[in-house]
């Protein structure tokens, strides 16, 4: 389902394209709280802190860890297939209950000592046509 004109989120001196998302385990039984994640066209995949995987009930080390590189250095991440639900943003900027978009089978890389929620290309952004309107400070994810 496409997402039209999702507002940028003001953060400090800048406003960024970010989405309220809720991650679920592949079984769909365990879900996170709404998390505000950056839409990052420079990220190869989706990256979340390792604690999120534990919250979802994943055995973190049941998969082969992979080395990742980011702007802050190298790290270790464990990919676990998850579900990403994009939530509506209410007028006050908080997340609503309506799921605008449901993306299944996303390999989310859970990063040890990770400090960011990032939505990247592999199996998430590559499912859409991303349109960013910096003038109006909105963005769209279209099929």
């Amino acid at each position: 389902m496409p997402i039209h004109n999702y507002p940028f989120t003001p953060m400090g001196d800048v406003a960024r394209p970010m989405l309220w998302v809720r991650l679920s385990a592949e079984t769909g039984r365990k879900k996170t709280k709404p998390l505000l994640a950056k839409v990052d066209t420079g990220a190869d995949a989706c990256f979340f802190p390792a604690d999120v995987a534990i919250e979802l009930g994943y055995e973190l080390r049941s998969v082969e860890p992979v080395m990742i590189e980011s702007s802050t250095g190298q790290g270790t991440a464990m990919p676990h297939t998850s579900i990403v639900d994009v939530l509506e943003m209410l007028p006050d900027g908080s997340p609503g209950e309506i799921v605008l978009c449901h993306v299944a089978r996303v390999p989310v890389y859970f990063v040890e000592n990770g400090t960011s929620f990032l939505l990247g290309a592999k199996s998430f952004l590559d499912q859409f046509v991303l349109k960013v309107d910096y003038r109006e400070q909105t963005f769209s994810l279209e099929d």
């Binding site: 003001p10 709280k33 006050d92 908080s94």
Partner: protein, 96 residues
């Protein structure tokens, strides 16, 4: 013109990695952000995980270095439902 976010007091501290605070979101009249609420993030909290309680009295309820510690802290506060973001490093968090 902005008014300072009110810090209504520290609720509790658990070691160095976890700090529970309660801050009100204040309305700003800053040009272009007329309908935004904001909270000033203290330097020690910048870049940390932050829980915001949901509902009409939107408040920042907890900061922590790790996601797991934040979940534990916010649940311990018993504020009901909340959402989680990473606190900006620039010092001010705006909400629409």
């Amino acid at each position: 013109m902005e008014s300072e976010a009110k810090n209504s007091g520290q609720i509790g501290v658990d070691g160095n990695s976890l700090q529970l605070v309660e801050k009100s979101m204040r309305r700003t009249r800053k040009r272009g952000l007329k309908n935004s609420a904001f909270v000033r993030i203290e330097r020690k909290h910048q870049g940390k995980f932050l829980a915001i309680s949901r509902g009409p009295d939107k408040k920042v309820v907890a900061f922590a270095d790790s996601y797991g510690a934040l979940l534990e802290a916010a649940n311990r506060l018993g504020v009901g439902d909340f959402s989680i973001i990473t606190a900006p490093r620039q010092g001010v968090l705006y909400s629409h």
